[in-house]
Symmetry: C2
Subunit: 432 residues, 2 copies
């Protein structure tokens, strides 16, 4: 399933590195050009880990929080490493807004760049595939192989568009629970993710406490703040404002690329920090010696944003952007409860919560609020605040620090006594 | 020129306060509804200060930094208080991105809301019009009565649109220098402004050191950061993406309101702070008891942004938004110089620099960088960092603290020895 092909040469990073590594959600590609470090490409000198994206389709009614049902439900996923005999070494990784199941390695020897968190997942890495069986699942509502607004609505035989039901983080987790059942995983050693991936991981610990031995929550929150809702809403408004969006009915026609590009540019600013933008771009001009006094690109940071915004339209569906940001906005584990602490009354997992000093999208106070709520329930919760200038993207970039923390945390878990799973849900029918 | 009409009743603030005070750049209106304070409306119980916007048109070539010339040049302005006998009590107030000359009072007894900084300008206020002669000047490139892209190009007899030359902060100041000459003001007691107003004030101190006895710089910077350039660029992209923008050629047709609204929403998020949005909106729903699971407005913060974005399109020109944000992006007093300190070698003014702890658009490090550069030149510079949760808008809202600081600073100036102005520029011809 995971043959390794040694000795495959990978192109050296060049000035065209933006192009080469497009599709990443982070600035990996850009960083070496700026600070002259090449550490990010070190893995390229080794072998290429080849992995295939797999698809599980479930012919069951997925009962969504809004009362609607979805059937069939396809989830894209990838796996790495080997499940051990007592099935106790499974790690579920969940991705952020625009991520996918392809977390590490290469889907083919020709693929120019590895998965989105290749630095953290692989042999000897933070999530060590020599020891752990790593699963990365995509989300419903997305456009990366799982059922979403671009999927064909069986009732009409044409794409759902806006007739796709609004899904929540809990709905995403429910479909992932089917996937775990299908894979025969009774209990996860850990469930982890950054940003929206962390929200899914938290929801897992709340929805299925007995199936989650531990959760590692990175750069995330237990409930979206007003500021983050506002940023999501403005990004959605940029899509609505594009006449090509056409109330979501644009499949087979010109998609709302202009609006989606603006939405993505807003996002990119929020993933960085004032400090990292100052370091990476400052007021450096782009292929100019002096100001142009026109509306073309003057500054490198403008060029970067325009490039990233446009590139995003080639790999993401605008309707999925709407559905996924809305799922995030609705995410509030305390919804309908007297307090956030009440949300964790049934939780039994061990938690490691990590925030990053310069992350202003999911600032540390939100992680601290979460940890307080866990401790109020007597749960085993560890909190780390990592000093980093990389902003929200720190969770993707500060992998050395994460590797240390994860190694300790997971190592202790493997030797500690496991909770007895209360039940394994098997009420699903799947095909792949 | 400034008759006062006592006893005019002003409507009590209501739940419809957003509507009533639309046009403000700040959350004044919103604050009383949230934190139950009514202080912002206290002035309403008094008399109405009636003031007329005036217009000075200069029939001279304004030589712009990009090499182009502009002729004629109209500036909108307002004045308050009386110029004293030795013309030593003039204060020039300069406004932010979307402001105008109407800084205080009412343009008519029927006007529902006062000028944009009425809390800080008037009898007994921070800029006390019983003692000082206050001038507020609009900017070229804008759409509030001064020459800008919506003005008629005398060469074509139709609106400039994108054929309007790109202007800079220095160009704005040059036209304001004409206005000062026209008004017969040899030296300003102080020049002040927040945000882009502070940039103009700094430029005044650099371009015309002998005409600026002091400068009060609020929530501003000596050079725009990469993050702020990025935010401006995304806002511009939202306008470009609107087909109605039509390369700036939309006068007499449908304007790019959808794009401009998105641009403004981005701006509004940056004017607030994580903390102020949490306090004002949190996750409060808008006229709903439960989540709607649709793409209508769920959260109060969404409703607020949509409202503000749309309202802005009724009072601002999209092309002016482009020109003014571009002027800000180009603002860098160290441009072409070895250091920021070098920019102030000729400066002779006294400076008071104020930043606000939660302002992430123009964070305190930028004000500190500015103050360091001033001190490196042996200039008299005072710095205050005001603790406030109101974000960038603190400069508009924290007027009590500002009043204390300004009263001290200006009081000391009035009694100190004035620089002898080197020259008064009179090479202009004006009509109003």
């Amino acid at each position: 399933m995971k043959p390794r092909q040694p000795g495959i040469k990978v192109p050296t990073p060049t000035a065209d590195c933006w192009e080469m590594r497009d599709g990443f959600d982070n600035l990996d590609c850009y960083r070496p050009l700026i600070d002259k470090r090449a550490i990010l490409f070190s893995a390229f000198d080794m072998t290429k880990l080849i992995v295939q994206t797999q698809y599980a389709t479930f012919h069951n009614d997925l009962h969504l929080q809004n009362g609607a049902t979805l059937n069939p439900v396809t989830l894209a996923y990838e796996t790495y490493g080997e499940l051990n005999a007592d099935r106790s070494n499974a790690i579920l990784i969940l991705h952020a807004l625009s991520g996918d199941a392809h977390v590490a390695g290469f889907n083919s020897p020709d693929e120019g760049r590895p998965g989105w968190w290749d630095e953290a997942v692989g042999p000897g890495k933070a999530f060590n595939t020599d020891k752990y069986y790593v699963i990365c699942s995509n989300v419903i509502g997305g456009c990366k192989g799982s059922t979403g607004p671009a999927s064909v609505n069986p009732a009409t035989n044409s794409p759902f568009g806006l007739s796709f039901p609004v899904v929540t983080i809990a709905d995403m987790v429910e479909s992932q629970r089917w996937l775990l059942d299908y894979l025969g995983i009774e209990q996860l050693l850990t469930v982890t993710g950054g940003s929206m991936g962390g929200m899914q991981a938290l929801q897992w610990a709340v929805s299925y406490p007995e199936r989650v031995k531990s959760a590692i929550i990175l750069a995330s929150t237990a409930r979206l703040s007003a500021q983050t809702i506002a940023l999501n809403e403005v990004a959605r408004q940029a899509i609505y404002a594009d006449p090509n969006w056409n109330q979501g009915d644009y499949y087979g026609k010109s998609p709302p690329n202009a609006g989606l590009a603006v939405a993505r540019m807003i996002g990119h600013i929020t993933y960085l920090s004032d400090a990292s933008m100052r370091e990476k771009f400052g007021r450096r001009l782009q292929e100019r010696e002096r100001y142009g006094y026109d509306f073309n690109t003057d500054f490198a940071v403008e060029s970067y944003l325009r490039y990233r915004g446009n590139a995003f339209t080639r790999r993401f569906d605008a309707n999925s952007f709407l559905y996924i940001t809305k799922a995030m906005d609705y995410f509030d584990l305390s919804y309908g409860l007297p307090s956030l602490a009440a949300a964790f009354e049934r939780a039994r997992s061990k938690f490691m919560v990590v925030s990053y000093t310069s992350d202003w999208l999911y600032p540390s106070w939100q992680s601290k609020e979460l940890v307080r709520s866990l401790l109020q329930n007597g749960l085993d919760a560890t909190y780390f605040e990592i000093v980093s200038d990389y902003g929200h993207e720190s969770f993707l970039l500060e992998v050395d620090r994460l590797a240390e923390l994860a190694r300790d945390f997971l190592g202790r878990l493997m030797t500690s006594k496991s909770y007895k799973p209360a039940a394994v849900y098997k009420d699903i029918a799947a095909d792949i």
